[in-house]
Subunit: 435 residues, 2 copies
């Protein structure tokens, strides 16, 4: 039996959905690297009883390691350290030296915001430096220290409870602190039973999820022992992701399964190494030393934002134009106004003109044009909400043009159209242009 | 005691963080509308035992209503209906009529993807139509039906367990199905004890969270009974959000608290009605019938994407240029190349030139320029990673220019810079230009 972990995310703002939890996913990856099995992620509000009940539940399930995020701020509604102390049956004590170190950290704030009340700062600092007795302190990255709290003596359990790692809520504080947490003996002991897993990801674009279900059945029919693998499939931004986790000695079973997928889905399998279409496009543009520029209408800047997301994007993204108004399509991407008049802004002709126009104007190797009806209004019978025309133009007249009818909300249509655009760019870079 | 609910999100892809849960937050809002108290959101993988344990935990906490999302697909790893049936002690039965209706829905897929295997479809369809006995079926929006499963007889509990509403994972299937779920008697009975809450949101920009903590202490010092309110504060994309929930008869306490916040934070409180800066900017642009255009470098399209996100954005967004390369700054936004040479691309002068240039080129009322070092590379001592210059230019020479030093990763810097830009646009629209 492998070591098992759970994550408790605290904060009414997360529970109520006002803030998205970015720590659960990140910590899940870190646990996987350690070979620890993640069983639950539970989100609770800033209510001490609910949090303590969640911790008790984890203890009763025999969880070895609990990671908490959030609830370490200077405000009175941040109660994680106190709740964990009670759960581990440890008193809270003020760590004077730690209070001094936090004070040093917050001092610059006083110059940045000269109207701050020093008393407010002092109260907050001492609150953050009050920790469960016997806890290992993880030095603050922001102002909040993290904690590794070894199990206390718990009357209700025959065995000892889990080790609890208490981490701050902001990802840029939590993430740099993780390394220190992993180096503590208390955490190492809690996960002594970890096993090593391998995880592999395949990605497909352009088929429904039921096809993958059938492929899994076929693989089993061929005698491949899928029971030895943990295969999960999911539809994500229009792509199918097949993630398989397995113990190292069943690598052969995975290889056989991967071969079946590759055979059955030759046309649509675009990644066998887990790389995303964004990464593939970035890699190919860099390798060819090609520059790209985009002219987008309905996606409103999302395609440019996605292309410029990775570090180093300035090496291959020259820029782009967001041409919402028809005048902008003419002025910024050089679209012939007669094309818009004749065929409408959402048309094959305008998509082509956008791709070719931005390519010529910005002197890049690749140009991309996207024009569609994102909705919720603006749809007609001939051009309904979700209709998007896309074009990618490359050197020597290479061009790809496609239209798609995308389902969902305005945000869905914009997001999906961006994904389709990236797949068309990928195809052009692979030399699969229409002409 | 109010009715209490919990949400169980299923799916290894969500637990492992590969897919973001969008249903928990959405359902949290719906529960709030119903006056139901949400206690827990728990994410479990596609492992039946873990899911059943989570359901049992909720039952033991006296939860009245459990909402599940996900695990209703045609693939064998989708097991929610089966697990809920076991939990509610109800056998699984094939609903032939439902199978027929699902078949009607999937038939068009066969024409869209002519290579699909009809047998794969049939197996998946029958799996999706096998439901717990006595469950109320919610008609499919995609191919998966939802379920309202009344409590079964549970030996381990003295009282009856919760009603479980089983919903599909894709938000665009789950959301339209919710209305039908709410109309069932089973759900209505489960939440018969709901109380009415009011929720109000204030937003502030430009102060640290500890200042709000101090304001809460001052309000208490003035005799305002904050214990009667549920106040949560959080830092979100550089803004502070203060959300307060209270029962209707304590509205007076909230009003007194809100007055203290307004007095102490006159300069930084920008929203007392929960509106976001995005909404305020959209509203003011519409009201003035002003058009806006942006020229952005380090934010790479994110500002344009955020401005064009709301429905109807085409009424006030003319477009934008993403000017990553210096040549693009010159060619698309008309920046004088000598400015770049003399002051560098990240400078007050270039930010001004971008704002004024895009405003002139696109003939809009407002122009915005953003140029900065998003990182992780490219920083220098004089211009470190996180330095961003922003400018907003309006009619009659009105202009705002600011520089900020933003902390965090490349993604953080891009995101925060976009938020700062929106606040500067808001200030210009309020007539608070520097000149």
């Amino acid at each position: 039996m492998s070591a098992r972990a759970a994550i408790v995310v605290t904060g009414t703002e997360v529970l109520s959905g006002r803030v998205r939890d970015r720590n659960g996913p990140w910590l899940a990856d870190r646990l996987r690297e350690l070979g620890v099995d993640l069983a639950y992620v539970t989100i609770v509000g800033d209510r001490p009883d609910d949090m303590e009940t969640a911790l008790r539940f984890m203890a009763e399930q025999g969880i070895d390691l609990v990671l908490t995020s959030g609830g370490l701020g200077p405000t009175a509604d941040d109660l994680t350290a106190e709740v964990v102390a009670r759960f581990q049956a440890r008193p809270m004590v003020l760590d004077e030296a730690l209070a001094g170190r936090i004070e040093e950290i917050v001092r610059p704030l006083l110059t940045r915001w000269p109207n701050l009340d020093p008393e407010a700062i002092r109260v907050g600092t001492r609150k953050q430096a009050t920790v469960p007795e016997g806890a290992i302190v993880l030095e603050p990255v922001g102002t909040a220290p993290g904690l590794v709290v070894p199990p206390g003596v718990m009357a209700s359990l025959s065995t000892h409870g889990p080790t609890v790692v208490v981490l701050p809520g902001p990802p840029r504080e939590l993430q740099p602190m993780w390394g220190a947490a992993v180096r503590t003996d208390a955490l190492r002991e809690a996960i002594a039973d970890a096993t090593s897993y391998e995880q592999r990801t395949m990605r497909l674009f352009g088929i429904p999820e039921s096809e993958i279900a059938q492929t899994l059945r076929e693989a089993e029919g061929q005698g491949i022992e899928l029971g030895k693998l943990e295969v999960t499939t999911c539809l994500k931004r229009g792509e199918i992701e097949v993630v398989t986790r397995y113990e190292l000695d069943t690598a052969g079973v995975y290889e056989a399964f991967a071969r079946v997928v590759a055979e059955r889905h030759e046309d649509t399998l675009f990644s066998t190494d887990g790389s995303t279409v964004d990464e593939q496009v970035a890699r190919m543009l860099l390798k060819r030393q090609w520059a790209i520029a985009v002219a987008e209408s309905c996606t409103g800047g999302e395609l440019a934002a996605r292309l410029t997301g990775p570090a180093g994007a300035s090496q291959y993204v020259a820029g782009g134009v967001v041409v919402y108004a028809n005048e902008a399509k003419v002025a910024l991407a050089g679209v012939d106004p007669r094309l818009i008049e004749e065929h409408g802004a959402v048309s094959e002709q305008v998509a082509r003109a956008l791709a070719e126009g931005v390519r010529a104007r910005m002197g890049t190797d690749v140009g991309v044009g996207v024009t569609g009806v994102a909705g919720p209004g603006g749809g007609t019978e001939a051009k309904p909400v979700g209709l998007v025309w896309l074009s990618v133009a490359g050197p020597e007249g290479a061009v790809i043009v496609r239209s798609v009818n995308l389902p969902g909300s305005r945000a869905d249509v914009r997001d999906r159209a961006t994904t389709v655009a990236l797949h068309l760019i990928r195809r052009l870079l692979l030399g699969e242009a229409d002409s």
